[in-house]
Symmetry: C2
Subunit: 342 residues, 2 copies
């Protein structure tokens, strides 16, 4: 094992190590918006923007861009569309510094013809979220974004549902594309660190040296932050995180943990810690984070939607949910006590 | 990398691997008791006992044994003492099966002369919790436990505060002792997986082949479960966990995640999932689990007591807590926006 692994025990016993320098992308408003239909108040988005800029976060993903009419009027907040006038209400160029702003594009929910040129926008990065089977269309959308002057990323979702052959196929397609950043996306929170290590190595081996590898991780099995550590260690270049892990279901890598871990002098965790106080009320209301139903769908490598529905019930009843989702699995032949547990 | 690391992508994309077979020790009542002064109702302890036996958990740690008068009368519940008549109210021998019962012994809080013989008790295992500097007394207490007919474990706490020399010294002492199980204890939730891997290898290299290595992990930085995975992978023999991670501060490895991960036919996660419903009310009241102050003490490799005090305030104010604990660290020289974030 290399130098970076060496444990240095300081005189006071503190275990410290050097970290690789990586980029940090905050997706609080974009992915966190999945929990409140992107109905954040302008003031909270503004404070988030300022805190992230102050923290030296590299990229803030402020929402999605979406073609007009895709959602019923009033069903989603402004950060599902990120119209330029909405963005201008919260983006203060005096505070922005080197932080780039990103929007996500959902395949099928936005037409390339609805994108505006980068020169007319405060947005710097467009990230295309796609399933493997839509990779051709996704690359075309990335190409359109590049032509409009954006940095273009491609996030291939749900890679844990792909066969190795399917992964090879989309990586080969991306390798010969002009896309500059490709993320390993653990949509279902299904991965353990050694599995993510395998995929990071695969992506890095397959792609060109000038193509950066990112990770977007979910916390269904409480592995998101540890998976981020494993990814950094394997050479990932850009790590997604969010304030207090805010995100759909079990949420994401907590930004505060990532910044403390990186301990990079380009970053400052303090504005993020301050910002968390602003989010705690939302947390009590929206309740993202670890829960048994999310753990079960993560473990089973399934979309969390059934778990999210379950968590809206008064009694999520984890065992019944487990039974429902594992009806086709052989029952464990475990030690049977003489009487059944009650 | 060896066979255990090989990712098998099944036709449906599910990533699965084989796991090493390890022992699982549940410490819900013992460590969870730190959150409610061991004031569990008999009925909940009884249901926990039955569920753990039904789940095929290897060891249930049901509390501490403590010499009379150590705590003020009425200040702690029965599971801080584990008198035999208290145990007999909840332990049903018809249900117990091969599950062993354990009690922890805190150095300085119990005299060897107050221990009863194993033949007069339902308890099978005594685990001595000690700091490195008390190792001689701890080994003497383990020897007394062995003479009384118990299995004797030694948990050296707060190893992340020890220098490498101190670790070598207590391992050498344990190697020449009759203690059969030694646990790596991340008391402060300070460890990242690669650091735990280093310590597991160190313990396993140093100790005799017949001495088993365990891990007791805390979740301050959301690494407890991932650390357990790393420990299993490095050859740990026995893993501590608790129901929904119940434990002091940020809590422990969630038992349900561990059992699903191990996917061992000796175990059955279903009674544990059912039991979690019984614990959710306690969870809402006692609020163990991830919070910013716990993350900060974990990151700083400090005892969580200041964070636990902080969490009792109405406004934990993470940034102020961070400033308080890092007053002696150099401030990060990060990108400064032209105006300070508000």
């Amino acid at each position: 094992m290399g130098l970076d692994y060496r444990v240095r025990c300081c005189p006071d016993g503190l275990i410290t190590d050097r970290r690789r320098v990586v980029e940090v992308l905050d997706c609080t408003i974009r992915d966190g918006g999945c929990t409140n239909a992107w109905q954040f108040q302008d003031d909270l988005v503004r404070r988030t923007f300022r805190a992230l800029a102050g923290a030296g976060v590299d990229v803030m993903e402020i929402g999605y861009q979406t073609s007009p009419g895709v959602f019923e009027a009033g069903s989603v907040g402004p950060w599902r569309y990120c119209r330029e006038d909405d963005l201008l209400r919260v983006v203060d160029p005096d505070v922005k510094g080197p932080m780039r702003l990103s929007c996500m594009l959902d395949m099928g929910r936005v037409e390339a013809s609805d994108l505006r040129p980068a020169s007319d926008s405060v947005i710097d990065v467009l990230r295309v979220a796609t399933y493997a089977h839509d990779i051709e269309d996704a690359i075309r959308l990335c190409e359109a974004a590049l032509e409009l002057g954006y940095e273009a990323h491609c996030n291939v979702m749900a890679v844990t549902r792909c066969t190795p052959h399917e992964v090879d196929a989309f990586l080969e397609r991306l390798r010969t594309s002009p896309v500059t950043n490709i993320a390993v996306v653990d949509s279902f929170g299904a991965m353990y660190p050694h599995q993510l290590r395998y995929l990071i190595r695969k992506y890095k081996n397959w792609l060109r040296p000038d193509q950066k590898v990112g990770v977007h991780l979910h916390n269904n099995q409480q592995t998101a932050f540890a998976n981020a550590i494993a990814a950094i260690d394997e050479g990932a270049d850009i790590i997604d995180a969010s304030v207090f892990g805010m995100g759909r279901g079990a949420g994401n890598v907590p930004l505060e943990l990532l910044l403390m871990y990186l301990d990079d002098e380009r970053h400052d965790v303090r504005p993020v810690l301050d910002l968390i106080d602003d989010y705690m009320e939302l947390r009590d209301e929206l309740k993202w984070g670890y829960q048994v139903p999310y753990a079960i769908t993560g473990w089973l490598n399934r979309h969390p939607r059934s778990a999210i529905r379950r968590m809206r019930l008064d009694t999520p009843a984890g065992m019944a949910f487990y039974d429902e989702l594992t009806a086709d699995r052989p029952r464990r032949r475990h030690h049977k006590p003489e009487r059944e547990p009650t």
